[in-house]
Amino acid sequence: MVKYAAVWQSPESTMTGAREKTLRSESGIFLENVGFAYGDSKVLEGITFYVPKGQVWALVGRSGSGKTTLIHIIAGLFRPLTGEVGISGREGMGPGRIRGVVFQEDSLLGWLSVEENVMFPRHRRPTPELRRTAQDMLTAVGLGDSLSRHPFELSAGMQKRLEFARALVGDDEYILADEPFGTVDALTRRDLWRLWFDLRSQRPRTGILATHDPEEAVRLCDAVIVLQRGAPGHVAKVFQIPGGVHQLDVSREGMELLELKEEIIESLAE
């Protein structure tokens, strides 16, 4: 628990009136000059990008480049050392501003059933409406038959599906996913990619997908941010993916994408 002592305290806005106005009028995820450090070691510096509403951008970087830290900052779990994060035009705010988070580490509530995990924190006295929404969501991710099972009874792929279901059950349009497909086998990953597209086509989602896999990045996202490792991590390059959001399909292929993938790998190696 020690680590969470620094839970977000609403920072006083340092923005000027004009900038605040622009931020408020924007929707999407907005990062300006974000920096972070664990104690004395800086891990992120000068991170600036803007993910427009309805787009999901990939955050690609080698391990140790600060992907997870950045996801936690955007989720409101860590307070950035410098800079601003704006969600839906509002800046500041602590954890709870985005429910749609899929963590890399184990985070399912083992003592609750699959259905209760999705309804959390209102699992004790759910309204019939909440229960219906939860069940619909679980059916959508293919867990409709496992409502009363517990997380430990699920396979790794099913656990990931449950994590997506509980992250996206609300009205929240935002999604932050930290290596969500990293721990499953290649075939299950294909299934989960398809699920990813289904969930995005059900309603527009705005978000970030952190991954170390350039292929996943070019296939699943509308743009790719390359996070360069080094002291401290910073944005090396941003690639727009041709076709972008209009070409949502697992099977998207083509020379353009292959070349892009090579380019991303090159920029990672720099």
Binding site: I98, E105, D106, L108, W111, F120, P121
Partner: protein, 267 residues
């Protein structure tokens, strides 16, 4: 979910065999005891036979129930109060690190001191009153439970806490909804140790001054050299702690079935 993996190397035998062995263990103990006594390996006065112990039940009669009842009630009340105190203080120490800073040193220096050493003071302060006995047990168990709660909460996976925060649960509700249930499996051993300490403390405090209770029974029998009654008292204390421990384990098994099954432990 992590797997403990211990079951992969356990020698199991059949379930039936395990059950017979459990009975054999207790039976074997009684047989050795009987032999020692009947064959006069140990003089009969120093080690009464099981039969003499059973006869002692008849000698004491109804009063035995009162003695047992008094001890059980003291253990129960003291343990409950101590657990409540321990959970309260432990959670508070983890919720507010300033409280942790304030209390950690105190808790850590008192914990290694056997609470039994405090008995003379408790007699000075409270005489033979019931309050003193209960307070001694509350303090003794409270310290153990506090440390167990503080430690268990530190072992909660970070992702679980983060998910709680992300769903917008307020910090003070987070303890009830996420942290306590998540820490529950880790609390099991701490609570079992606390229960054993509660029984010890009740018996010791009954030694020092009481009018009922198994400790009192043993103490007065010492004067009249009624070794059979002493042994009877010891056996009943064992049975009482065993029963209470079973109840506690059953409660934890029910509450933490998810964790036990996740780890695949054989119980």
């Amino acid at each position: 979910m992590t797997q403990s993996g211990i079951k992969e190397i356990q020698v199991l035998g059949s379930a039936g065999k395990r059950r017979s062995l459990a009975i054999l263990g207790v039976l074997g103990f009684v047989i050795v005891w009987t032999m020692l006594s009947i064959l006069n390996v140990v003089p009969r006065l120093l080690l009464p036979s099981p039969w003499r112990v059973i006869l002692a039940i008849g000698d004491i009669g109804f009063a035995l129930l009162v003695h047992v009842g008094a001890t059980v009630v003291r253990v129960f009340v003291g343990f409950l109060l101590g657990s409540a105190l321990g959970v309260g203080v432990g959670v508070w120490m983890q919720y507010d690190r300033r409280v942790f800073a304030l209390l950690d040193g105190v808790v850590d220096t008192w914990r290694p001191v056997p609470p039994v050493a405090l008995v003379p003071f408790f007699i000075l302060w409270f005489g033979f009153a019931e309050v003193g006995k209960i307070l001694l047990v509350t303090l003794g168990t409270g310290l153990v439970v506090t440390v167990a709660v503080v430690e268990a909460m530190e072992r909660i996976p970070a992702g679980v806490v983060r998910w709680g925060l992300v769903t917008g649960v307020r910090r003070r509700h987070l303890f009830r909804l996420v942290l306590l249930p998540a820490a529950m499996p880790e609390l099991r051993s701490g609570f079992r140790i606390a229960l054993a300490i509660a029984v010890t403390l009740v018996v010791v405090s009954e030694f020092m001054g009481a009018t009922y209770g198994l400790g009192y029974l043993i103490n007065v029998s010492k004067v009249t050299l009624s070794t059979a009654t002493i042994l009877l008292g010891i056996i009943i204390i064992g049975l009482v702690s065993w029963t209470l421990d079973r109840v506690l384990r059953y409660g934890f098994d029910r509450a933490c079935a998810w964790d036990i099954r996740a780890k695949g432990a054989i119980r």
